[in-house]
Each structure stands twice: as C-alpha cells, then as structure tokens.
Symmetry: C2
Subunit: 561 residues, 2 copies
C-alpha cells in the first residue's frame, strides 16, 4: 500500500506539552485509582505518541491516526458530548461500523452499541429503552434514526473538515478552551456503568446488558494477556465492535498499545489484503466468518502466523485443518455479552501436538476453562425442562447441565429489567443458558443451549422474537422456532408451524410458497439473519406435561432433516 | 539433570475430585470477586495440575511439585496456620531463602517477609513491630529466632516426612478434615492487608510497608504482562523473595501458570547450570548480580535468549554489552518496596536498534514510563534541601525533581507509622525519595536520591541507620554516610567522620586502622552490605544554613575519590 497522504484536522493535533492526566475526585486515596479502561489510551499516547493506533484505509477517504492524534480526538469527542449536554451516566448511542469506546467513556457517559444489522423498529426500541440522549450515526445508517427525538450527529467517515462528525469534534476542542485532560474527571466509582449492549435473550425484545468500568478494564486486560497482544500487534476488526463491545478488544488493544485496522464491512478481499500486506497479527471472528475467510479466492498460506480468536461456536475439523494449512493459529474462546465476551479458553497442552486432526478438533471444540481473571465456571444440574435445580448442584462429569459463572467478568445487570437480572443471578451465579458437560480435567464442552438462541453468521437471533413476528401472519396458529445447522451461517432458524384450520387446505402441497409468503411477511421486521431458512408445517408440536413446547425434541428433529 | 526421584508426602496429594473453590462471604455480589492473588494458583492447579510449578534441586534433598501438589500444600499450610491459632489479619513471619506467599494469604493472614541478611537485633525489631504471631524459619536461620516469644516452625527444606515443616503441613491437612478449599474463605475486602515488607527508610529503623491484596493482584498481573510470562516460562529465583515480595513475581508466575526454579543462595555456578540446562526463560536481579553473572567462569552464549529483568540501578554500557553478547534480553524496570517492586519500565523503540552501544546504554539507563496498570509518574519541584515544594509543581523538562506516583500500585501505608505515611503521601502522591529528570518524551531518568539509601548488592541500606551505629563508637563525634560507587556491589557506604578532639591524635596517619576498628565495632550490629567500605576523617561537614548536612556535597566528593 502506498503511504497515506492524510492530514488530520488541526483540532486533532494535541497541543505542545500535552498532559495526560485526568482530574481526580479530591477524595481519591493516594493508593487507589478507580479501574477504568480510558486510562489505557492515555498511557499509550504518552509512551508511543507516534505509533499508528488506527488505520482505516479501505474507503474513498482513508485515515490513519497516531496514538497522540487519536487521544486528542477522544478528548475532543468527550468535550463535544459535554457541550451537547451529556452528563455523567447519560447514555450515548452509536450506530456505525466502528465505534467510540473511549470518547464516550471519557465524558463519563455510557456507550450504547447498536447492531447495524437490526431493523428500524428494534433500533427505535433500543434508543427508547436505553434512554439515549444523543446518537452518533454513520451516514450509511442515518435513515434508521430519521425521526429520532434526540440529537443525531452524522459521520461521513471521512476524517476531513466538512464532515459533521469532524465539526462536532472541532467544536468540542474549542469548547474545552484547552483545559485538556485535566478538565475531564476520572469517574470516581469503578463499578459505574460503562457500556450498554443489547442482546437477544429468551424473551422477544432485546435485553440491555449493562457493563461496568471495572469489568471492562479487567476483561480487556485478560483478553490482551490471553491473546498475547503487545506493541507489535496489528489487530484487524473482522468482529463488529457492536458485539459485546467488540469483546472489550477496543481497550485490550489500547492497553497493549497495539495498532488497529478497521474496515466498514466484512469484505473478504479487503480482509485478505490486510492479512497479506498490513502485517496483521490477530483478529476475532465466529466460525462462519472463518469459513468464508479460508474459502476466499484470495486465500493463500501466510508467511507469518496470524492468531485467529474464534468464539460463538466450535471450529469443525475441516475448518481447523483449513486454518492451520493457511498458517492461522486458532485460539478458541467462549462467552456471552453478559460476560464481556470471552471468559473461557481452550488451553493448549503439549500432548495435543501428537494427536490426529480429528481428535485435535474434537478437543479444540471444547470451551475449556475460565480464563485469566474470570472466576469459576460450573456446570450445574437442570431438571427435564432445562431449569436449574435449586441450590446449584454440580453435575457429575459428563452429565449435561447449565453453565454458570460469577465474578468480575459478569455484567452488572439487565438494564431496567430487575426481574430478568434476578432470574439470571439466581443462586449467586450468572446462568449462561448454555448446556454443557464437564470433563474430569475441569474443561467444559457445550452440548445444547437452553436459551432459545440461534447463532447465525455470528449474530444472535432470539427464537422467541422470531416466533412473535411469525405468529402475526394471518394463517399461523402456533409456531415454534429452533436453530438448525447451516453450512454457510453456522445456524439458521427453522420454524415449525401449525396452520389455522382454514389455511391448511390453502397451502397443502405448496409449503415452499407458504415459506416465501411467511418470509415476505416478516421482511423489514426481522433482520436477515433472523429470517427462517426452513419452514415445516406440522399438525402438532411436542409438549411437556405442563404444556411447554419441547424445543429439544424439535431441535433433534431439525438435526435429522 | 537426571529425572527427579521424589515422592511428596501423602498429605501433599490432593483428594480425587478436588474442588478449587474458596468459600465466598454470603454478601458477595454475583458480579464481583474481591481481587486476591490466591486465586491464581487455584486456576493453575485446575487447568494444569501436572505441570511442574516448583523445582528445587540444588540441595541434598531435591523436591519438585506439580501445581496440583503445590496447591494442596498451600491449602495444608493455611489449615496448619489456622490450627495454630492464626486469625484473619494476623501477621505470620517467614525467614527463609524461599517463601510462603500463597499459604499465608490462603489463611487470610499477612505475610511478613524478613530479609535473611539482617542481623538478629533488626529481625527482633521486625518481629516485635509487626506483631508476628508465628514464625516459619528455615533451619539455617533458626538461630536468629532462638529466644522468639511466639511459636516457631522450622523447615529443614527437605520436603520429606520428619521435617518439622512437613509435620506442620500434614497436621494442617488432618485438621482440615478434608473440608478442602471450601473450608477457607476468600477475603471479602480486596483492600485488606496482604504482605508487610520491611525496608530501610530515611529513619534509622526499618519501616514496614503494608501492601494490599488488590495491589498485589494488579501488580502481579502487570509484571506477568510486561515480562511476557506464560505457561512456557521458566523463572529462576535469583532475586530474593523477601525483596518487596519478590516484586510480586510469586503471584505473577502462578497467574502465568509458569514454572519456578528456586535456589538457596546466589550461587553463580548453580545459576549458570539452570540457564544452560533447565530451560530458564526469565529472571530478575540488580546490576551487581548481573555483573557477577556475566563474569562467571561458567558463562557462555545462550542458545535461546533469556529475559533479564533489571532493577535497583541502571545497567552500564559494559554490562549491557556483556549481557547482549551472552544472548540475554534486558528489561530495565524501576520501583520500590512501596510500589510493589517495579512500576516503571524502559520501553523499547524501533529506532533504538540502529543506535550504537553507548547511546543505547544511555537510553536504556532511563527508568522510563509508568508500566501497565501503574498510574502516572511525575517529577515535581524540590527546594534546595530536597523537600517537595507545596502543591506539587511539575518540573520543566530536564529540571531535577522528586519522582512521585499514585494509584493501585502504591502501598497501603507504613505500618504503625501514620506520621511517615502522611509525609510520604503528602500532596496526594507517594514520594519515592528519588530525584530524576523528565525528558520531553515523558520518560524519567534518576539523577540522585533524596532518601539517604545505599543500594549495595541489591540490598537497601539506610545511611541513617549506619550513622546511628557508627556514632556509638567512642571516638566518633559526628558522622555522615553516603553512597559511593563500588565496582562489585554497585554502591557501598562511605563514612565521613569527625573524631572527638582527644581521638584525633590517636588515629593520626592511621586512618586504615581506625576504619578496621570502626567496622569491627559495628559487626553483628549492621549487615555486611551496610558496613562502610570507606572511612574518611574530616574536620568539618558541609551544612546548610539551617544546620542540615549537605549530603549532596558529600556524595559529589565521594564520587570524585
């Protein structure tokens, strides 16, 4: 790639003798600094001001920021937000390919990451439920917030004067009157809110997962440590930053003082360009993304290995082989939005080296053990309806049960949903909703999900949300949706439908057309990844004695198809 | 080395299905685990039970413990201490070449690390001042605690049945009645006391530096991260564990799940044996130790590089060259007991590679920047007597001032010395007592010490303590002690003495004999490293207008000799 001829705006240039010191609350003890991931970028800007921190080149108007410039922009954003009336604890939403994990925190506001793949009604729900006071939106998604009742700042993703986002930053700089970092206070309480990520849960509406500064700080350091990120690392953003705050990597990377390469979309040609020519050392992604990477026409063996952090599902033997042949080193981790992204890791053992591919893949598919700074991972007994038994009884080895965990790498709460929080925290542990077995070596392996989620292309779709939309179709009497394996997307939704009696005759022998009609019906209401890939009309659904649909039975049936 | 034929005592073997779960206080929130470095060894024992954790081979009765066995021994020690009446917060002293950083913490007691090189009266002072309730002592040092009023457990360092320490552990196991880890509570308050390390300060008596669990936890992770410790690391204990809790490496290594190799004394033949044949990857040591390492007859170029973490003083160009020629990678850090050991690091830059040796050594001699998780390092203005100016004013670049810092990697307090704590914490920062300049790149470089310490062979000697002892000599009227460069030890004490008028004639022209007489006089009262290597009789001492001895002038004079 040619050297980048790009000059950041004058307001992005830090003053001479910039001081990287936030204001401390006067009561702060000498031997105490509240844990806060904003501290990482300040240290990086001090130690390596001229190191490239952010590189964003696959666009018409490429930009590249050093740590010194980036830190100044973060400060400008913070002041811009304060000027716009944002107060500590206020929520600021971002709808963009890439995010503002530092600037929002520097203003002591709460970052609401919104999935750009959601439909307008979901975004409206999130903006309303989070009570966002301001929205930062990329121009591509501006249509989604057209009627938004709070101020909207549009970024044209240019980094150049004239871009409304740049104007916002420049105004922030002027508003600061060069008070600099000293004019911004370090949040006093380390358990204060940091980010609010909406996730598909067992109920239809997305749930707001509130994360704290302390949790974000500790999880970021754990990810930096477990992935061996350091000053020489170059991280490629394949995983979207709106997924569980990008698994805290936005801060893991500033902690490591590493370089980040951003892209606007998951474009495999661009990804391979970076793999081969940008010195990439690390990236994260779900197996479905990894499959597309290894199958890309641009794929060729890497000269120096790249660490591929995989989560969301286990890599298959075929995928593992393909990755290894291309010189990727696989790091299989597991987690949820509620656990700041990864909190377990499949730890390598010397004896694995001598195993055959199939056997290694089988072992690598395990979710492993709690990783650095994560507390214990337990598998506890569940009843036949998948509910945890009271008192949390540990399962025997190889007996399926629910994965529970606790500790600093567990969310603060489901925002404005004390009932869901209480249920998730029942018994003193956070219940993941995933069913696993524990091996005698203490590692765990997921067997099923008790939460009715469909993980498709790295996105979580709530089966209940899908059911709610499908059930509004005039011909649908009852519907149940489960995950079914999909070659490309990992999983897609399969719907089992009981038709209204009067509609049975109408669609008889024309299930394909009914499926089209149904999918057409939910278009615009459900994101693409949540639309059912299969529909089967049935005369009855398997139920428990208490009338609950036995999704396990449906899942087994779907698996056999 | 031949494979080790060693069987740990039966009580060191964990039960089948051991559970690595400490009891939590019932009030502990689901999303909170109090930070405590004891959690590291439990995770290591779960994930890598059969990985060698501790290797102690340069003795008549060598031992080697896996993480599973070691963790069980830690548990046994905790129960042994509880059986012996140790309650949470009680101090437990250890006088041994190697330590008990996990077992004491597992009993929620406070570990008092005592320097084995101290004289009996200092040890008695520390035992009394710390209020230690129990002493664990290595047989070699048992004489130092002969008249100790509290229970003393002697270790013969055998790891075999019959050793009183082993009896203590085995009784602990029996006392536990197999309640295991669940019978031990995780300390609820992360700011609770963890270790108490005595250090020579500006006053004559050693000061007790109290460290917290939170600080120890965070500092250990920082050291693991900055030194790139991981499961494949093999750490050789050259640095004594009683120096600032071994710079928190006892926990950095369990966090990394690494292997530790211990030795009883700094024996360069043994050290080179381990470098060449034990797969050592890391060690820490002061320059004086490093000089002996490179000058050892066993020294030869290493096949794979070893990371040498250097602190206490800056490596010279000659030392740097010698280390690099032998394939050591130098990591220069800086810190004090009050900062849990290292808290700054000399960060490498790509452009340093092209510099000549002298220039690189000059740059490498800088103490650098605050390292991971350490808060800001400032250089603040001092008056001509070396006292910080009120309000803490940052120095201009290259203007000498006192290094101050703050945050999680700063001690809790000087134990039972609120006045000294208040003075050290004045202005909201911890004052290191070291004088440095700050470069425009934000890195610092030590120029002088305002605290009157002599750093000799990696040991800190208080000049005031030395002065107090010397002044008791009947012929001494007034004495001032400063550090002077020493080829082998880095620094040694130089004493400037004004003799009593009646003694002047007695020693005239026989200064050498007076020096011998003086050193003889303090033998047994001062440890070897604190005894003056030079004595000069003078007729007056340089003083400020307020009558304070100008040590800076004496230091300059000593430097010119």
């Amino acid at each position: 790639m040619s050297p980048l001829e790009f000059q950041p705006t004058p307001e992005s240039i830090p003053p001479p003798n910039v001081q990287y010191r936030l204001q401390l609350a006067p009561s702060t003890a000498v031997n105490y600094t509240p844990l806060n991931p904003i501290s990482f970028i300040l240290r990086a800007a001090l130690i390596y001001p001229n190191h490239v921190a952010l590189s964003h080149r696959n666009v018409a108007t490429p930009v590249e920021y050093t740590y010194a410039v980036w830190a100044q922009r973060v400060q400008n954003l913070a002041y811009g937000l304060i000027k716009a009336g944002i107060e500590p604890g206020d929520r600021v939403a971002v709808i963009a390919p890439n995010y503002a994990h530092n600037g929002v925190l520097a203003a002591r506001a709460v970052l609401v990451c919104i999935n750009t793949r959601l439909v307008k009604s979901d975004i409206e729900y999130i903006l309303s439920h989070s009570g966002a006071k301001l929205v930062l939106v990329d121009h591509e998604y501006a249509g989604l917030v057209k009627d938004c009742p709070v101020p909207v700042i549009v970024s044209r993703d240019t980094g150049r004067a004239g871009d409304p986002y740049e104007t916002f930053l420049s105004e922030g700089r002027r508003f600061s009157r060069e008070r600099g970092w000293a004019g911004l206070q370090l949040e006093e309480e380390e358990t204060a809110n940091a980010t609010l990520n909406y996730t598909s849960g067992t109920t239809g509406r997305p749930k707001g997962v509130m994360a704290t500064l302390r949790g974000s700080y500790l999880a970021a350091i754990s990810n930096a440590y477990e992935s061996k990120l350091n000053i020489n690392s170059v991280y490629l953003w394949v995983l979207p930053m709106f997924h569980a705050s990008g698994w805290t990597y936005p801060w893991a990377l500033t902690f490591a003082m590493a370089k980040q390469v951003t892209i606007r979309t998951v474009d495999y040609k661009a990804i391979w360009g970076h793999f081969l020519y940008s010195g990439v050392t690390h990236y994260c992604g779900a197996p479905t993304v990894q499959i597309s990477i290894v199958n890309s026409p641009e794929a060729k063996r890497l000269k120096t290995p790249i660490t591929a952090v995989i989560a969301g599902a286990a890599p298959t033997a075929a995928l593992l082989e393909a990755l290894e042949n291309l010189n990727f080193q696989v790091n299989h981790v597991y987690g949820l939005t509620e656990t700041y992204g990864p909190f377990t890791r499949n730890y390598d053992r010397p004896e694995y080296k001598s195993l055959g591919l199939e056997e290694r893949a089988r072992i690598l598919s395990r979710q492993g053990h709690a990783f650095a700074q994560a507390d214990e991972v337990r598998v506890v007994q569940i009843d036949e309806e998948g509910k945890r038994k009271p008192g949390l009884i540990d399962c025997d080895f190889m007996q399926p049960g629910e994965i529970v965990t606790r500790g600093n790498i567990v969310m603060k709460e489901y925002y404005r949903d004390p009932k869901a929080t209480e249920e998730a925290f029942r018994g003193g542990y956070f219940a993941t909703g995933d069913v696993a077995v524990k091996f005698p070596d203490g590692s765990i392996s997921i067997r099923d999900r008790s939460k009715d989620l469909i993980i498709s292309g790295g996105e979580n779709a709530s089966s209940l949300a899908i059911e709610q939309e499908l059930s509004l179709h005039p011909d649908v009497l009852e519907v149940s949706v489960v995950a079914r394996k999909h070659e490309k997307w990992g999983e897609r939704a399969m719907a089992f439908v009981i038709l209204h009696q009067e509609a049975v005759q109408k669609w008889k022998g024309r299930e394909d057309e009914f499926q089209k009609d149904l999918i057409n019906f939910v278009k615009g209401k459900l994101p693409g990844f949540a639309q059912p890939a299969w529909v089967e009309c049935v005369s009855e659904l398997p139920k428990t004695s208490t009338g609950k649909i036995q999704k396990t039975v449906l899942r087994q049936r779907a698996a056999k198809l």
